[in-house]
């Protein structure tokens, strides 16, 4: 298992990607003007679906799912199902109605619906927290892959990766890169699927559709190794499985950067259909990710190189890359995997930090602290905020508190405990008012962080509210709190209630 030293192929591919982005950026600079509206109309629903998927795919999908499956087997299916089934919830409950509000960010929606600067402030803070947590997971992925590529230790790799990520962000920001999201999706999914076929082939399994063929590997493992990958509750109880799955689902339907997709689609019908395509495109990745881990396990078993739990945990989050290495596929294919993971993490980080910084500079600084701020002023604040956020993320990521998928899940728990109920009741119950929204978000924050901070000290809290899975209990409680508080306080303005009845819920 030698994996030290510089690796030529991934370095070359990474460099090529950065140069390519730069060239695309320079080329698209001349005709930026009305990029979004026109292209959105011409790319169609399938194209918007690909954009949803490319927006979604991060280090958590690319590296995290396989990592968690490698360690926890069937328990990881809660992630797979949570992160796909959440889109069903989003589709049937919110996607088309959100479009009717004509707002562009979660805090804007909250202010428009609840008519309250305080609720807006709270939702902006929550959006920033979600971005931060989500980014920590991405940075862990970036650091691990950079460590693997350049043969560095984790901390140096984290710093190098951050430097590259920030220059990528500054460059693409300065050039206003109109990223082609369809191309982005295509590149990412090919980087993921093609190496998998070669891994399957190298290990002697059916390579044409390895997503369907890795069952044989699982059974082989079960016969030799016991059934710890397959048995449903070998790594977590049924309650933990269901709580996690539910949390990820409501979290998906409450994540600001996922919801913001639906504000900009041309119409409600396209919004709905693009979600269906989105689930298919995301599913392609999620059908495949566990296969990497299963193949990695098979290789270990065959070569007798099984690792102790601590060492397994060390490499779990780059097991996708390890599987390629162990199976002995071409270094270019492994390089494509590694660079695909980096690209996925970079674009996610860029989007999240911009969302977070925007929430700070617009929703907090401009709307609250300094209403007289000029455009230039706000830009400066946004840039500073991006930098501060990035530094905070790096500090936390230097000592990552868990696996990539687990860290990401905490961000979903937060979204599911706060923004999901606020959006759900905001759309489907006109009596929900600002007091309810504010109380709900505060209780939601409490539930999320109770699991995180008190889980070890208070066993009951730890059992009921695992940090990654607090929304099974949290979201219903928050909804109840919102309903009771709203009923005890005056109704929201008539104008908003009529808007809901006449515009939002109108065919």
């Amino acid at each position: 298992m030698s994996s030290s030293g510089l690796k030529f192929a991934p370095i070359f591919l990474l460099f090529a990607f950065l140069v390519f982005s730069l060239v695309i950026g320079l080329a698209s600079r001349a005709r930026r003007g009305d990029y979004y509206p026109t292209s959105a109309r011409s790319i169609g629903r399938m194209g918007i679906g690909a954009a949803i998927a490319s927006n979604w795919m991060s280090a958590a999908s690319f590296l995290g799912i396989a990592g968690i499956f490698y360690l926890q087997g069937y328990f990881a299916m809660a992630y797979v199902i949570g992160w796909t089934g959440g889109y069903v919830l989003l589709l049937i409950l919110m996607a088309s109605q959100i479009r009717r509000f004509g707002k562009y960010t979660a805090p804007e929606f909250v202010e428009a619906r609840y008519d309250s600067p305080v609720a807006r402030l709270l939702s902006a803070v929550i959006a920033i927290l979600i971005s931060l947590i989500y980014c920590v997971a991405q940075y862990k992925g970036i650091a691990l892959v950079f460590a693997w590529i350049f043969g560095l230790d984790y901390t140096s790799a984290l710093l190098l990766g951050t430097a590259v990520a920030i220059s990528y962000m500054v460059l693409s920001g300065a050039l206003g890169v109109a990223r082609n999201q369809q191309l982005h999706y295509l590149a990412l999914i090919l980087c993921f699927l093609v190496p998998l076929m070669f891994v399957a082939k190298a290990l002697g399994y059916s390579w044409a559709v390895p997503q369907l063929g890795y069952g044989a590997a699982l059974q082989e493992l079960a016969k030799s190794n016991g059934s710890s990958l397959i048995a449903p509750w070998a790594h977590g109880s049924a309650y933990q499985w269901i709580a996690l799955c539910f949390t990820l689902m409501v979290g998906t339907a409450g994540l600001p950067h996922v919801l913001s997709r639906f504000y900009t689609v041309p119409n409600m019908r396209d919004a709905r259909w693009s979600v269906a395509w989105g689930i298919l495109f995301i599913g392609l990745l999620y059908w495949s990710a566990p296969a990497y881990a299963a193949f990695a396990k098979i290789w270990q078993w065959r070569s007798g190189a099984s690792l102790d739990p601590a060492a397994s945990r060390q490499i779990a989050d780059i097991i996708v890359i390890k599987a390629g290495e162990w199976a002995g596929i071409s270094p270019w294919l492994i390089g494509a995997l590694a660079v695909g993971a980096i690209i996925a993490a970079f674009s996610t980080v860029t989007g999240l930090l911009i969302t977070g910084a925007g929430a700070f500079s617009y929703d907090i600084y401009y709307r609250l602290l300094n209403p007289g701020a000029t455009e230039k002023n706000r830009m400066a604040v946004a840039k500073a905020a991006t930098l501060v956020l990035a530094v905070v993320v790096v500090i936390v990521a230097a000592n990552p508190p868990g696996l990539i998928a687990q860290i990401t899940a905490v961000a979903f728990a937060l979204a599911g405990n706060t923004l999901f109920p606020v959006f759900l009741l905001g759309i489907w119950w006109d009596r929900a008012n600002k007091f309810g929204a504010i109380a709900g978000m505060i209780v939601g924050l409490a539930f999320t962080f109770a699991g995180l901070l008190l889980g070890d000290a208070v066993p009951l809290v730890g059992a009921l509210l695992p940090p990654t899975s607090s929304a099974l209990v949290g979201a219903p409680v928050v909804i109840a709190v919102m309903i009771v508080t709203s009923l005890l306080t005056p109704p929201p303005p008539e104008k908003i209630r009529r808007f809901l009845a006449e515009e939002v819920h109108h065919p």
Binding site: T84, I92, A216, A222, P232, I242, M268, Y286, R497, P507
Partner: protein
């Protein structure tokens, strides 16, 4: 859907938006559809896991469903890891087709 007399799709001045009391016509049918989808989503996702618990013969959850092999996978693994995603896509398709039709029908009425 029975052909009851559908009132025009303008909400009355006293109408209040409430998921549990959708107004007759478009919204009532839309909410009915949402309920059906939620049932299909919840029963197959969580109901299946609950059934795994009910049918298990040891604490790690092995039982009839994990012994059976389908397409090379233990049944529960195939169902959750592969079929449910297909099911989600199917639900999304059904929902969209239904709402498309509903929207068309009720827009013409205006």
């Amino acid at each position: 859907m029975s052909e009851e007399k559908i009132p025009p799709d303008e909400p009355g001045a006293d109408y209040r938006v409430n998921f549990f009391r959708p107004r007759p016509g478009f919204m009532r049918k839309e909410v009915l559809c949402i309920w059906l989808m939620l049932a299909g989503w919840g029963v197959l996702t969580f109901g299946f896991q609950a059934y795994l618990v009910l049918s298990q013969r040891n604490p790690v959850g092995e039982g009839v469903l994990t012994d059976k092999i389908l397409f090379g996978f233990p049944f529960h693994f195939w169902f959750t890891g592969q079929f449910l995603i297909v099911w989600f896509i199917f639900l999304a398709l059904i929902f969209n087709v239904f709402i498309d039709r509903l929207t068309e029908k009720h827009r013409k009425r205006k």
